[in-house]
Symmetry: C2
Subunit: 372 residues, 2 copies
């Protein structure tokens, strides 16, 4: 290996006398896809041959295996990077992708966040407390009703309203009509309250359609968007994040539950490296089953220094009760955005009142946190 290394760590299930061979096979699987005996006489293969750097016990018949792969093997391309990390080995159930170090030399392959954590603060004008967001739902409502909900949330003082991630270009709620109606509703609310709530339209479709949606949203006045990188492809996120005509992106974790890539790596690191300015993840104790430790790990990874990338905004979500909001401020501190949907909607006709109470409880929790 004549090249800077990319360190990739896996958990591998293997018997003690088999793990060295398994690690060697994993190394070769991700680049040359040939056993060493078949590489004889193929000058050039050494360019992309890494090495097994460390094998450590990680429980019974389980090992943490760290490979040092040559950076050249990534072609500095975001799709090939993903392939190098877990392309073929994703098909081998004895392997879990645990962690990757981000070397400075890989930066040309990865746009990272356009605006990042501080960008969301600029876009919303919120300082000194967590941001508060909710989702426009349920799917099935026409644009006018979603826009009315957006206005209700804006008047209650929420900082961000986003489309539910299942809002697509439905016949009963076309993308363009929805974006126009929601932006207008928030304009009207801003004239009343003096404060503009940020609206994030959900981009979903083929890359071609998503680019058309982005372009429409931008012309209509949207200042940030949402998308689901695992539905649309992480390389497409990288393309959008690197596009000078793009907008900050809140990433949704739909289809991200592989169980074979550690959640902290996928949502906390890869999403950000590929360009997410903020990342939604399922909060422990809601209707998903992430642990508290995983959630804190994701939030920490999103906000940590990483080869000069901007920090990204952690966005816990997924069944957070209004009553738990203050607890989450204590857990994550101010640099997060709480995304609370269902618990507000259960208030029915009292939705606006419940949203105002939420806004007040967060302001109080942030003040108490600052005083403590």
């Amino acid at each position: 290996m004549t090249d800077p290394a990319l360190r990739v760590t896996y958990t591998v299930r293997a018997a003690p006398d088999a793990v060295a061979g398994r690690a060697e096979a994993l190394l070769l699987e991700q680049t040359v896809e040939l056993p060493r005996r078949a590489l004889r006489g193929r000058a050039g293969a050494e360019r992309v041959l890494g090495r097994v750097e460390r094998i450590e016990p990680a429980g019974e018949d389980a090992y943490r295996v760290t490979l040092a792969q040559p950076l050249a093997a990534t072609a500095l391309d975001p799709a090939q990077l993903l392939n190098l990390l877990f392309g073929n080995s994703s098909l081998q159930p004895d392997v879990v992708l645990e962690d990757v170090e981000l070397p400075e030399a890989l930066r040309p392959a990865l746009p990272g966040p356009r605006a990042g954590l501080s960008g969301w603060r600029e876009l919303t004008g919120v300082a000194g407390r967590p941001l508060l967001a909710t989702a426009l739902k349920p799917m099935g409502l026409p644009p006018g009703e979603l826009a009315e909900l957006a206005a209700t949330f804006a008047r209650a003082g929420l900082d961000v309203v986003k489309d539910d991630h299942g809002l697509a270009d439905h016949a009963f709620c076309p993308f363009e009509a929805r974006v126009t109606a929601c932006l207008e509703a928030l304009d009207r609310a801003a004239r009343e309250t003096g404060r503009r709530t940020l609206y994030l339209p959900n981009l979903i479709g083929t890359p071609e359609r998503v680019r058309a949606q982005l372009s429409f949203a931008r012309r209509a006045g949207a200042r940030a968007v949402m998308m689901s990188p695992m539905l649309l492809g992480l390389p497409f996120l990288a393309q959008l994040a690197g596009d000078p005509e793009g907008l900050p992106v809140l990433a949704h974790p739909a289809l991200a539950g592989t169980g074979r890539i550690a959640e902290v790596l996928l949502l906390g690191k890869l999403f950000r490296w590929y360009g997410a300015d903020g990342v939604i993840f399922p909060q422990a104790g809601g209707r998903f089953r992430f642990t508290r430790e995983t959630c804190l790990g994701i939030a920490q990874a999103l906000r940590s220094p990483a080869a000069g990338l901007r920090p990204a905004l952690p966005v816990p979500a997924g069944g957070i009760r209004v009553e738990r909001a203050a607890e989450l401020v204590a857990l994550y501190g101010n640099d997060c955005m709480l995304l609370i949907g269902g618990s507000l909607y259960e208030a029915g006709s009292e939705l606006g009142r419940r949203a105002r109470e939420l806004v007040e409880s967060i302001a109080r929790a942030a003040r108490e946190g600052a005083a403590a």
Copy 2:
């Protein structure tokens, strides 16, 4: 639900007294993302509210749950279809996506194969036996050496040579130089042998780069391509498959090992529905761990009638020994393509001879199968 239904089957782990509630929550999670009590007064939600159609025991504390979701919820969009099937529920480890029925009414959302099984026969001129393919590797070789390998395989009589799926736009092997060199080498071999071997360049990168690669490959004379839908995004495959300027696609399973979507559904059905003309899958008994039953299930799904879609070509691969080729002809019949790489490369300088032996053994196995 006032709409044709999309039937989606999951395996859900739950206690007997909890499964009905779990199925109801799964139903709502995939569309409205709200509990029923929060839907009161939201006229429109009924448009996308499906129903739990069947709950059957599937082992201890496990159930097969079939949901009937309204087709309207898909927006007839390939990305939103994926989201409806397994967006949020992929994050819930008690749920596995098992199967989906393809209703005729969903066809506008899905291009299906452009050329399909019969298209590969037209492209290669091969009838009455399985197609034979190999991969150009290892990564690290410059274009000239890969092209020389391609010519060796062509002279030996292989029908298809494809780039290894890790061949990207590497500095030491740029995409355009590789495609040009390989196509020229196969032209020269065709002038000698009178028979043209088909070359499949691997497209990999952001959608923007992949479109440029496709356009270059097409102009250079490529008549089909390879890509990895789980790396690049299934919606992007659908876009390419629906593009009048596109080419037939062989789909590679890199990153497809979620363990949470049944392999037969993902590789045998979804890949084809989204536009794959052929699908590579890891053969049982090689270095991956698919079972024989899974492999046969994938092959059968790819070739079965499905709402008028063309059948697609099953391509078993992944550590197939030359000696096993005849056995696989017996297993899959003639309508498949055997993809054999490593076992040829291990012959070193005898690569050409080993490849010719393989071609002869397949011809023999097909004749014996026909005579039997």
